[in-house]
């Protein structure tokens, strides 16, 4: 792919009016901010849902005053019913995975910075881009509506296994209208993401400015590109799966429902369907999805760390190829969610092998990060703290994967809190740290104001310790056999574990409260923060060549010209300790060290 300096970028006229500027905007930067805001709202809702869940698990028979306002049937007099717990859990997972982890690091930061980092004025299809946001927002509204329609949200988990999710309201509260709304919302979300991925991929392939070869792209641009490629194929499978699920509900089909099932005293008329088919379709999407959630974060962390270490990574190519390997392998490992599902036990071994293999690229990335810290000039600020925290979290969450990758061990740990701890750490918290790191790093560029560093550091410390306090104990619970998705712990062997749950709940409530510091910092700094210079972090990529915030047409109507690789720091003989990508300075390019 050659760079396209003479390529017709979509030069659009400056937008006029509030609506065109801030609501139905074609500008990728506005769209990026809209996605980020959506993710902020979603994470707040998702977090509150988790508070309700955690309080109920720790103090099961106590009423939560006021909960009846949210659902008089789900929590009469504030006493949470078993089904309402599961409904909150389903919505928590769905909102967090789709509307936070897929949205903020990828659609949020990606939309804002990808065109800038490749040197373009905007993405090639701004209308599709705008549509992708509004479609995603529509999906969010449809999902949230499940709280208020019919007999509540579905209770089958974010994984919505059939036949529970397919047979309709006869299987339980929320399984009728709620489940259909869920599947509809997710289907709409898929469409939004497909449009977004289309834009990201064509931006990287077609919109790079003169001199911006593929290998000169910042790692964040690569991360967003790889994520879009995964997204295109993964969401393309989830969408039909959701359609089939909806058909089972409304058209009397039996895609996922076998014959002879008696649910709630009713012999169902279905036949020919397969329970496992849903699992295959879902996890074929589901496993690549977790890489969609983490790869942008890996890109952000790499970018932030390099800037704050004042030296390139030992090998950016190793990180890049590892990300590609993760993407490629992610399609081959999905059956590790199904080791004891009843699929052929030989298949379990077959899926286990690439799952173990996938530790290699993950380890390469982590080792390159850590190895590059050696001999660096590490700067500590809120952004770099969260980036370092990401490494720690990713290691912690990653090693628990050694256990879950093996079917024989999975016999003991499947469907326990061990799995819940694993994915919360390696995907939830790590990705969140990536988002925080990106926020502290790019906020000055996006708003023209600096965030408060002191509060940022306080936010980091309390969150870092808090999230460890919450999620590390999950692993111990799992090893003791604590089953997940239980709304109460009444089994003989579970009762003695309740004190651990109480500890976790208190940690969760405290850590959640700490996030108010971040929100306050965001809002306050947006209006009252000190003015940000163009390049406060002395970073080399193209976004730092423009004013903070950037003008509506990014590079002022001109196409930038790129002369250097992305991470020219600490160059012998150069005038400063870094060289911007568009600098005319002639230097001996620092290539990957062997």
């Amino acid at each position: 792919m050659h760079d396209m300096s003479a390529h017709a970028a979509p030069h659009h006229a400056p937008p006029e009016g509030f609506i065109k500027n801030h609501v139905f905007s074609l500008d990728h930067k506005v769209i990026g901010k809209q996605y980020y805001t959506l993710a902020l709202v979603a994470v707040f809702i998702g977090m509150v849902l988790s508070w309700f869940m955690r309080i109920h698990l720790a103090w099961t028979n106590a009423a939560i005053p006021g909960l009846q306002l949210l659902s008089p049937a789900g929590a009469p007099n504030g006493l949470m019913t078993p089904e309402y717990y599961l409904e909150l859990m389903t919505m928590h997972g769905t909102i967090m995975v789709f509307f936070v982890l897929t949205t903020a690091p990828f659609a949020g930061f990606g939309n804002y910075f990808l065109p800038i980092q490749v040197g373009a004025e905007d993405m090639p299809f701004p209308h599709f881009n705008m549509m992708s946001f509004w479609i995603t927002l529509t999906a969010f509204c449809v999902l949230i509506s499940a709280f208020f329609v019919g007999d509540g949200p579905p209770l089958a988990g974010w994984t919505a296994y059939a036949p529970l999710s397919a047979v309709g309201s006869i299987a339980g509260p929320g399984e009728g209208t709620g489940q259909v709304l869920w599947a509809t919302a997710i289907g709409i979300f898929c469409i939004g993401q497909l449009l977004g991925s289309l834009n990201f991929i064509s931006t990287v392939l077609d919109m790079r400015t003169k001199g911006m070869t593929l290998m000169r792209l910042p790692i964040t641009a690569w991360a967003w590109f790889i994520t879009s490629c995964i997204g295109l194929t993964a969401f393309a499978v989830l969408l039909p799966a959701c359609i089939l699920l909806i058909l089972d509900h409304v058209a009397g089909t039996s895609f996922f429902i076998a014959s002879g099932l008696v649910v709630n005293d009713k012999l169902l008329p279905h036949s020919g369907g397969s329970t496992l088919l849903w699992q295959h379709l879902f996890w074929f999407f589901g496993h690549p999805e977790v890489y969609i959630a983490i790869v942008p974060g890996m890109g952000i962390v790499t970018h932030v760390l390099i800037t704050n270490m004042r030296r390139p990574m030992l090998s950016i190519k190793a990180i890049l190829y590892s990300m590609w390997a993760l993407a490629f392998l992610s399609y081959m490992v999905y059956g590790h969610h199904m080791f004891v599902s009843g699929m052929n036990p030989f298949s379990s071994l077959a899926f286990s092998f690439p799952t173990l293999l996938i530790t290699i690229p993950s380890t390469v990335v982590v080792l390159i990060w850590i190895g590059s810290l050696y001999g660096s000039k590490l700067r500590i600020n809120a952004a770099s703290l969260f980036a370092l925290g990401f490494i720690s979290m990713f290691v912690s969450g990653g090693v628990s994967g050694f256990f879950l990758a093996q079917p024989s061990i999975d016999i003991m740990l499947h469907a326990t809190y061990f799995v819940v701890g694993h994915f919360h750490m390696v995907m939830g918290v790590a990705a969140l740290f990536g988002i925080f790191s990106g926020t502290y790093f790019w906020f000055p560029k996006m708003t023209g104001h600096m965030m408060n560093e002191t509060w940022g550091k306080v936010h980091f410390w309390l969150t870092f310790i808090g999230t460890y306090a919450i999620f590390m104990p999950f692993h111990y619970l799992g090893m003791a056999g604590n089953v997940r998705r239980y709304s109460a712990f009444t089994d003989d062997y579970l009762v003695p574990l309740i004190p651990v749950h109480k500890f976790i709940t208190i940690a969760a409530l405290c850590t959640g409260a700490v996030q108010l510091i971040f929100i306050f910092n965001l809002i306050y700094s947006r209006f009252k923060g000190p003015k940000a210079p163009d390049n406060p972090w002395e970073c080399t990529s193209l976004e730092w060549t423009m004013p903070s915030p950037p003008p509506w047409n990014n590079f002022g109507g001109k196409d930038p010209i790129v002369y250097h690789d992305a991470y020219q720091y600490g160059i012998e003989g150069s005038s400063g300790d870094y060289v911007m990508q568009d600098s005319h300075e002639q230097i001996q390019t620092v290539r990957d060290e062997k």
Partner: protein, 267 residues
């Protein structure tokens, strides 16, 4: 602040390892014949994971401590061995290790899944349905009568939908709400779901297997310790999922025979 972070990471890493090393929360004692292989696999994986975890966090902490707060003119240094050394380390130290673990782990898996049940194993059928497990013993004729989903009548405790009036094989079937088995006798567990996805998990027995509606699966195992254990459902099946369990009683052969007789009288 970097030094504080380094110390914090080390403290967190050690604190995380303490409950593991102290065996504070562990799986209960194994009562199965295939369990030792699984437990061994678990210990080896824990050693490997533990070492990787502690080493990575420690080295991360050390580098954060050593290489922050350096002066602007300090020289950037290259990690000995460079990226190639690290990539090799990833492949050899971690990659080969986990692949080896996986390879050895196939033995434990094979013992459970790739061996056929013994010819004299005792068949017991377990039916999972919202929100209870029910068990069926074939009775003296050794045969299970056919299931008729349309004849299920829980009000009259016909949980399986048996029709003894028309199916002679069902006449002596024994349906129970608890699963009792004789110690040291191989059990051939036939798994049937009445309605949705469920799962059969007994920690002490080192067994976990999903029920698949429409697909009758089977497991076999032998318990070698007398006692009372819990069977819990681990596949989300609806609002009563948390309450779905049954007791497994491993008894001496003579106790089991008395129990079965008593249950037969209650049919």
């Amino acid at each position: 602040m970097a030094k504080l972070l380094a110390v914090t990471i080390i403290v967190i890493a050690i604190a995380s390892a303490v409950p593991i090393v102290m065996h504070t929360w562990v799986a209960p004692v194994d009562i199965s014949t295939h369990g030792p292989l699984i437990d061994q696999q678990m210990s080896e994986t824990m050693a490997e994971a533990g070492i990787s975890f502690l080493a990575a966090q420690l080295i991360l902490a050390i580098f954060i401590w050593k290489f922050s707060g350096r002066s602007k003119d300090a020289k950037i240094e290259r990690f000995p061995g460079g990226s190639m050394g690290l990539v090799l380390a990833a492949f050899l130290l971690v990659g080969t290790e986990v692949l080896a673990l996986g390879a050895f782990g196939t033995k434990a898996w094979a013992k459970v899944y790739f061996t056929a049940p013994a010819a004299d194993s005792m068949p017991i059928q377990v039916q999972a349905g919202q929100f209870a497990f029910y068990f069926r013993y074939p009775g003296p004729d050794g045969k299970f009568g056919p299931l008729h989903p349309d004849k299920i009548d829980e009000a009259n405790q016909n949980f399986f939908g048996l029709d003894p009036a028309n199916d002679p094989d069902s006449k002596d079937d024994i349906v129970t709400a608890e699963m009792a088995i004789p110690v040291n006798k191989e059990i051939h567990l036939l798994m049937h779901s009445k309605d949705l996805g469920h799962s059969f998990y007994v920690r002490e027995l080192r067994v976990q297997q999903d029920f698949v509606p429409g697909l009758d699966l089977s497991l076999h195992f032998t318990a070698n310790k007398i006692g009372k254990y819990e069977i819990v459902c681990t596949q989300l099946c609806g609002l009563g999922h948390y309450n779905m369990r049954a007791y497994l009683e491993v008894m001496s052969q003579s106790d089991f025979d008395s129990w079965l007789k008593q249950q037969a009288a209650n049919q």
